[in-house]
Symmetry: C2
Subunit: 332 residues, 2 copies
Amino acid sequence: MTDVAREVGVTAKTVSRVLNDEGPVAVETRERVMAAVRKLGYQPNLMARNMRVGARDAAIGLVIPEMGNPFFGTVAGGVEGVIRERGLTLIVGSSSENAELEHSLIATFLARRVSALIVVPSAGSDHRRLRAERVAGLPIVFLDRPPVGLTADNVVSANRQGAQIGVAHLIAHGHRRVGFVGDLPAALYTRRERFQGYRDALSLAGLPFDRALVDSGHDQEAAARATLRLLALDDPPTALFAANNLASMGAVLALSRSGRRDVALVGFDDLPLAEALDPPLTVVAQDPAGMAAVAAELVLSRMDGDRSKARRSLVPTRLIVRGSGEVPAPRT
Amino acid sequence: MTDVAREVGVTAKTVSRVLNDEGPVAVETRERVMAAVRKLGYQPNLMARNMRVGARDAAIGLVIPEMGNPFFGTVAGGVEGVIRERGLTLIVGSSSENAELEHSLIATFLARRVSALIVVPSAGSDHRRLRAERVAGLPIVFLDRPPVGLTADNVVSANRQGAQIGVAHLIAHGHRRVGFVGDLPAALYTRRERFQGYRDALSLAGLPFDRALVDSGHDQEAAARATLRLLALDDPPTALFAANNLASMGAVLALSRSGRRDVALVGFDDLPLAEALDPPLTVVAQDPAGMAAVAAELVLSRMDGDRSKARRSLVPTRLIVRGSGEVPAPRT
DNA sequence: ATGACATATGTCAACGATGACATCGAATAC
DNA sequence: GTATTCGATGTCATCGTTGACATATGTCAT
């Protein structure tokens, strides 16, 4: 900036004024400054600008478990789309579902003085340490899963209700033994909520809960094995509810590999090729882009000074009927 | 930092020394400083640190077309994994395949003084403007597609060879009329290369090239329509080559919706549920994580002072045979 | 005892930008 | 014709941190 100033024959302050459309500047000076800026290829140093008096970095930090997972990728894209309009940049880190990594990412973001944080908590993480930041007024929004040990804004899917509707759909097709294929660890918030929804549906229909019909796996192959274990039971389920996208894929794989077309299946979270599967996969779809948008808007309103009480936003889910959930229960 | 210093009764410089393990510091002082740091919850301000003497931001900027696409999501995750070990943070922006947005993202990253750039170019973008930065020594690596109007490091898939192998696989199963479903715009580097590979395979097998067998669509539904148009020809193809993941999904959908199980299909780029499709989808798999790692390592070596000539890395592809490519050609 | 040297800490300036306040001439007001 | 205001620009200090250099003690060899 000093170079530009020297080139034009003014002070850095005048250049600053031109670049920020601030205060009165003679038209001719403005033009000469702009010319020099172009000539020297000057670009303002955002780091220096942001460093001034307590100012924060014009960026928001986002922590997600995994970037390759389209659910979280879509979340990241949704957040970026909203904040970009405000001139904010997105800084991302993936925690690999590791609480320690999540914490170190958050620490890095805080050290960078980001303007806000959006966090998808990992299993087992604890957010007590963020209390001071929250008190200091830093906007923090939790996404997909609520914070632990801290009261703060959060945006989650209608997990319980969605799962209940999905399972009810299976029951409506005559199934009385519905298996549950979930995630590990079982302590995960989403898994817990969806499991509750599963039980809700059972009891609403007057069906007994059978612990033997619940199995888990934390990746696609593990979920496939869990599915096979359920089908190998003496009194096996005639329908399955898969509580997340990996579990769905695992169940689909297991059914496809074993050629079982007589088992009904409803998955939680939509898949890109769900329609092309045989049978097409019925799912309870979430709205990752919508959740991201809600979270980002919430962050922006907090940045604008909204000091109201921390709130939870429930983002609705939607049952998409495609065929796999409509496989009828076998006659007994 | 001043607060910590005051608390302990030393100067900021001493605190700085403790935090950076620099110079001699009395053990007792070190401990008292650390205690004060914990007590006050002090966190160093990275922006101020990075601002010193020409230093760059300890972050690298990544521009990808779309975060929701697992291919690019995996790329982002791969890059982050490598650079994190070096204490670098990832700043991401998505260009939505829009050259102007890509440019403005790059400009933002430059203003932030990122330590390096990794760019997946959009269709139609021009990178001439980055010449000055390159000359100034900023590491810039292009990923998946080469730069335009600029010589710089780039990491791309073995598109042409991979496509050739995929199409040859179809020809080996007796197909003489192989359709090509590609992306729009046709000017896209990857589409062009894969198209060349397609033609290579045809001529190696002594088959004629028929312009009528080439169609395109730039999203899943458009690709599905293109597929249907090809199948509706008077002399239709008996096999299809889909030149990217969206085209593959479109083709799969079109075949599944129209119940055509007699058409062979090979896709470029693997899909999560490829194995669960009916028939399971044969693909030429790319290695997004591998590409990301190569690009990130390249960036790091440039940051370490590697001033050698710009180079291109070709990342191999792999044919994964699953069934859809083995549908035999009908007898004539 | 005296310099040479290491150890432990301090002082100061600088990175790039911008708020607060100052200056100076010209235009307007009375 | 002097006072007031405004327009255009400059001066200075500051944000948080760290390099370069300085100072102050203590240790040791001669």
